[in-house]
């Protein structure tokens, strides 16, 4: 049967999420590893024709008839989308096994080796993860791999790695069984969070400890002759006691054996990204490549965002990985840490020969750098006393017109946002309502406020301290507000006070009147 005779159907596991833009829908297949795809309203109308089995030709004709458009034009525009949807199994051949709804291979209370399943964690087409209980009440995780193409290799590599690291930097392997399509592993459960989520709930000192423990875990792993091959925060679990455990060794390299490389993601090293850009085979994973990935993870834990901005289309993202320099912490709203940032820049060098010799030397350098105190940010001006004067019993409330009210509302909104102050929040709400949510005008180019904000933007982008000094100098020259000075966020003492506050938060600074601030 040729392709034009095949009847396709929308898979029953396809889930649709409407997006912000009218008509746009995010489409994904439950249980699939393929990322969700964003479809236009027109594309959604076309694939709705596949709710019942239909050939591609019939669906295009039916859609074109109902939309009153030329079928050839529809085919031209939709061909790429239809191919992508068949490749990602959103559209599947009707009556084929692949069109069946996803069914878990196990169910609650099934016995798997010594474990009894208690709760599904993740059910994918090629694997399952379950929570389970072991005799005596200990908790376990059961991992089932059933992938005809790759499962055997994944489980073989995972078992080889666990033979070295089980119970050390990885959860203890309790039981395993091989099958031709993979197998089943029972591991002791790590009752913890992925490293990035742990960092979110930690304070500065906690994040430092976490970063040190993650690098220590990888140092230990490499010392045992194992490369993880799949570094990302979801594979680095942190227990309530701070213990770090690495999981998922299906791509691990043990004693220089070969293993497939991950196909992308922000933890990819520059050489692998370059190979993907050239459509070439990646070099085998080595310690320097893994050092890069671990450095991306550590950077993300400490700064709250990854070193490169990869929110762009894939080719551009790969290019940035292959050539990019990490962003300064200050650009991400984190406290500048010159010593730590220097160490991470080296571990993140595009040229692997410029990275640290080993994970151990990276760890030693990072440990020393974490002991160096952070650069203190400029102190935040205390605006509390000034805010009280902007309450409804003050002269400003009595005499302000709408334009003045817009200046006051802007000032208060910025103070509320940057400091979290509850009084500023309520007063901002009050003044903003009073002026009908109007914004003050943006500063004229060349004025002190505009120049200071340009300098702040430069500082946030480059981390260069000179730009911050320039912005602070401008703020200093603008003076401090006097009680009878009308609130103006473009010039004068009030603008100076606000600018000093913005200087303490350069990554979040917003020029007066800026939309979306």
């Amino acid at each position: 049967m040729s392709v034009d005779q095949l009847r396709y159907v929308l898979h029953p596991d396809v889930e649709q999420v409407p997006m912000g833009s009218p008509g746009e829908v995010l489409v994904a297949r439950r249980g699939s590893r393929v990322p969700p795809q964003l479809l236009s309203g027109d594309a959604m109308a076309l694939i709705a024709s596949f709710r019942e089995p239909a050939t591609l030709v019939d669906a295009v004709l039916a859609y074109s008839r109902s939309a009153g458009v030329d079928p050839m034009a529809t085919l031209d525009e939709a061909f790429g989308v239809l191919v992508a949807l068949t490749r990602s199994d959103v559209l599947v051949v009707a009556d084929a096994a692949s069109s069946d709804a996803l069914q878990a291979r196990h169910q609650v209370d099934d016995a798997v080796g010594p474990a009894r399943l208690t709760e599904p964690v993740r059910v994918l087409t090629d694997s399952e993860v379950w929570r389970a209980a072991l005799p005596g009440g200990r908790r376990a995780v059961v991992k089932v791999v059933a992938d005809e193409g790759h499962g055997d290799g994944l489980v073989a590599r995972e078992l080889a790695a666990l033979e070295r690291v089980s119970g050390l930097v990885a959860p203890r392997l309790v039981w395993a069984e091989r099958t031709p399509a993979g197998g089943t592993l029972v591991l002791e459960e790590v009752d913890g969070d992925p490293a990035d989520l742990t960092a979110l709930a930690a304070d500065d000192a906690g994040r430092d400890r976490l970063a040190a423990r993650v690098v220590e875990a990888y140092t230990h792993l490499h010392a045992l002759g194992v490369l993880h091959g799949d570094v990302h925060p979801g594979n680095v679990l942190v227990g309530a006691d701070g213990h770090v455990a690495l999981i998922d060794f299906g791509l691990a390299v043990v004693d220089d054996d070969l293993a497939p490389r991950t196909a992308g993601g922000e933890y990819l090293d520059p050489q692998a990204a370059d190979a993907l850009l050239r459509d070439e085979r990646s070099q085998p994973l080595d310690a320097a490549a893994e050092q890069y990935s671990v450095a991306v993870l550590v950077f993300t834990l400490l700064a709250g965002a990854p070193p490169l901005d990869l929110e762009c289309e894939r080719t551009q993202a790969l290019r940035r990985i292959a050539t990019g320099r990490p962003r300064p912490f200050v650009a991400l709203g984190a406290t500048p840490r010159p010593a730590v940032e220097r160490v991470l820049r080296r571990a993140l060098a595009v040229d692997p020969s410029r990275r640290y010799r080993s994970m151990r030397t990276f760890r030693d350098a990072l440990t020393r750098a974490l002991d160096v105190p952070a650069v203190p940010l400029p102190p935040e001006p205390d605006l509390t006393a000034l805010l009280v004067g902007l309450d409804t019993d003050g002269a400003t409330w009595a005499h302000a017109d709408v334009d003045r009210a817009a200046h006051v509302a802007w000032l208060l909104e910025r103070v509320a946002t940057l400091t979290g102050d509850a009084l500023a929040h309520d007063l901002a709400l009050l003044w903003s309502t009073r002026c009908g949510h109007a914004a003050p005008p943006t500063p004229q180019p060349g004025t002190p406020v505009a120049r200071a904000h340009r300098a702040l933007a430069t500082h946030a982008r480059t981390g260069g301290p000179a730009a911050l000094r320039r912005a602070r100098a401008v703020a200093g020259r603008m003076g401090v507000p006097s009680p009878d000075e009308p609130v103006d966020v473009l010039a004068g003492g009030w603008a100076g006070a606000l600018l000093r506050l913005e200087c303490a938060h350069p990554a979040a600074a917003a020029q007066p009147g800026a939309r979306g601030a």
């Binding site: 309530a240 979290g420 500023a424 309520d426 009050l430 309502t433 990554a507």
Partner: protein
Amino acid sequence: MPVETDGRLARLTARAVGRAAALSAYAGPEALAAFCYRAGATAAHPRTDARWARVLVDRATRSHRTALAAYRRSRTEHWDGWTAHDADPAVLVHKVYVSPTTPAVPVALERVVAVATFLGVPSWKVGADTAGLHRADKVVLYLPSAQRADAVAQALADELADLPAQGVLFSGQVGASGIVSRGQDHDGQSWRAMVCRAVALALADARAADQSATSQRVAADALSSLAADLDVVTWYPGARVAA
């Protein structure tokens, strides 16, 4: 139930009513009600990770998995909720608000879950996004009777007494700090939404009656017009609320 007549929440609410009275010269009842309802929150820093709130909620519940098995968990965009399998939501109208400052949320959440599961609170919800954990009423517990709600509120007030309070305006303070307070839904309407709307309408009426009146006069007139139906000093629920 001992009621804090000169408590922190009573003072903060009086101040919010005064501000809304001043605003009544510029805005209508809808905007006034929105101001009253949102007063007492804080703004989220723009760099806050969107996953932060859910992480805190998940961590707070982790050590109570066994007790939480008796609850059905619901997740919406803004709230995570737990309701006992045998609870009847229709009768759960007596509310206990918990309002720590945002930095104190991680510690407070752990303790709230411990108290709620220990006392068998039939239902509660927690703000599960960044905005939700910056609003004043970050955690709301639901009980079937005023007596039980008072007992739970007192237990929570004792348990959370050492934590800094943000405080839920237009609710009745329980304990010394204002971290715990009470409300009561009527006819399917949320307590605070209902009270804030009543206050806004009264303020608009008072302003309309005398455009040149001072804010203090407008506030006083509005509150006295509500006093028959609401406790306009402590905002403690119990008095009948006009439809």
